[in-house]
């Protein structure tokens, strides 16, 4: 248990930034090599959080599609934890039981993984964290693949500032209270605004639970208690889509009267941007399937991998929307 004692220490942020997504082809080579050496398929057990959002579904789909397309080389054991950490822990234990090569995990929560990670380590199975971090000692997991919520919040703040000309009132639609995506996206955004844009005032901030329906309801209320709102920052696209409806009902023009910035980059928001009803989304790439398997293959082959494999994120604005829309997979 000595490893776990350092778990409270800050997780070192690795500096490496490799545009891994572009090297998928190379990755497949590696995968093939790995399976040759082992003489059998690469077995990956993946414990997914659940299906709380369209983004998550896209991620799941990407993983599953990769696995089925490369059925000769990899085998995927997939578990849907239905938003419960307990289920994820159970799933990992089952993977250990079944003797998979690598375990992938998108942790529901940051904490609480020491015990089960230790078990995996005992069994000699490396763990890859996907899109969310786990608060454990670095020795307990192999690598983290994904982006940084705080960074996303900051990017969104910059975009918002650009859109409304660095001053005016804005409102914020928060995600589920307590969810790390919500907390970090809020911290990143709020800090950036406070630090760099004194002219912008966040006049109201309330949770919309990451859903369209609530996003709409909360926005309705914001519109009534605050006059001349210049912009809306939503922690995910779904809430932004809900807010757009509320703005329209109030007789205002979303995207013009009130600027809209959100995070995730799901198809719906691109459609809205193409229609001029939204302004900007910070993409948080969910198509992590290839990267996951490629890293797993490396791990199986005993190669070293970075502690943080960054996925490529990007900012999409309304003028780019129409162009990229046809290529959007999710």
């Amino acid at each position: 248990s000595s490893g776990a004692s350092s778990s409270t220490a800050t997780t070192a942020a690795p500096q490496t930034t490799a545009a891994q997504a572009e090297t998928t082809a190379k990755a497949e080579e590696t995968t093939a090599k790995a399976s040759e050496t082992a003489g059998e398929k690469l077995v990956v057990g993946f414990a997914q959080i659940g299906q709380e959002s369209g983004w998550r579904d896209a991620e799941t789909l990407s993983i599953q599609t990769y696995a089925s397309e490369n059925g000769d080389k990899v085998e995927l054991l997939f578990a849907d934890a239905q938003q419960k950490q307990e289920n994820q822990i159970k799933a990992i234990k089952n993977f250990i039981e079944q003797g998979v090569d690598v375990i992938g995990l998108a942790p529901v929560v940051e904490t609480g993984w020491d015990q089960v990670f230790a078990e995996a380590k005992e069994a000699g199975i490396p763990i890859i964290l996907l899109d969310r971090r786990a608060d454990v000692g670095e020795d307990l997991y192999a690598t983290f693949i994904g982006s940084d919520f705080i960074e996303e919040g900051k990017m969104a703040a910059k975009e918002m500032a650009k859109l409304i000309g660095e001053n005016g009132k804005i409102v914020e639609l928060e995600g589920t209270v307590g969810a790390s995506a919500a907390t970090d996206r809020k911290t990143g955004f709020d800090d950036e605004i406070k630090a760099s844009y004194p002219g912008i005032e966040i006049v109201a901030s309330q949770t919309g639970d990451f859903t369209r329906a609530q996003g709409k309801e909360v926005m309705e209320s914001f519109l009534k208690s605050n006059k001349d709102i210049k912009g809306v920052y939503a922690h995910n696209d779904d809430m932004a889509l809900g807010a757009i409806e509320a703005i329209k009902e109030a007789g205002l023009k979303p995207g013009e009267d009130i600027k809209i910035v959100s995070i995730d980059g799901v198809r719906g928001i691109f459609e809205a941007m193409a229609a001029g009803e939204a302004n900007c989304t910070v993409e948080c790439n969910p198509l992590l399937g290839p990267l996951l398997f490629e890293t797993a293959a490396k791990l199986k082959a005993g190669q070293s991998v970075d502690k943080w494999v960054k996925s490529v994120d990007g900012v999409f604005t309304a003028d780019m929307a129409a162009k990229v829309l046809p290529d959007r997979k999710y």
């Binding site: 209270v177 309330q206 309801e217 209320s221 009534k224 208690s225 009902e249 109030a250 198809r267 719906g268």
Partner: protein, 344 residues
Amino acid sequence: MRETWNRLSEKQYFRPLIIFIIILLFNGIVSKGEFFTLSIVDGHLYGRIIDIVRNGSKLMILAGGMTMILATGGTDISVGSIMAISGAIACSIVNGNIFPSFNGNVAAAIILAILAGTVSGIWNGFLVAKIKIQPIVATMILMVAGRGIAQLITRGKIVTITSETYYFINGGYICGLPFPLFIVLFLVGFLVLFTGRTAFGLFLESVGCNPTASKYVGIKVDRMLLAIYTLSGAFAAVAGLIESAGIKGADCNNAGLGIEMDAILAVAIGGTNLMGGRFSIPASVIGALIVQSITTTVLALGVPAAYIRVLKALLIIIICLSQSKQFKDLVIKRKMINRKVVGS
């Protein structure tokens, strides 16, 4: 005048109504009147009151169906999932994802969605009435499965639709009033008439009070149960339509998530005993308005997100205590003692 007042005050919906009015007044005062302002935007009424009605419409409909079930001492916790199924079916049809032959026909979408809700209700009713599984567990099966089924229909995606006709279900206005209000009036009116004008209401209360004795007077308890669970399912489907029309799409993961608790809460605030017996559908509907207005109040007050639940919990307790006879007796006694102390 006095007599009408007395008669009114005996009704079950009287207290919930007073509480609702108090909540509204409170909001009006805190917001310095902003709360009650109604303006005309794009030819329809616009304001917080309208929001309460429109956003509360789902809950009011669900509360109507739920009241009957609770009156028999049962529960239906699958309504949220049925909403998801209904939304998924309707949006997928409008979108042409399933049953392409319907060609995005909104009417077909609505009918099939309600049909799906009805079938779900029958399934619940069958488990409760025939297999005699305890309601909470019987409906839990569909609660868990329902979202999965909805996701199977939409292939796990949020289905976004474009159909002005379909949007009308939530966003439409008739005479400046939101369309969901008319749906509520229609469905709740139907229920009130059905339970009041036929002997159905009497039989329900009888079953809720004493199922054995009800069986002994010849009431077909099984059939009653089947009927009310079916109705509840159908109503949930309608609520699902309203929800999906509101967000212009089907969000299987979140549609109606946790709304069953709110519906039960609404019925309880309406003063119906959850263990069965006397019920009042109008009271439950007002209960639903109260639950909705609590949310609106919390939003209007700008309470920090982290404190919302705490505040809601306190409000629920206060509302329930204010309806408790025992509590009133206690307070009155206190006051009298105080007065005596002061007097001497």
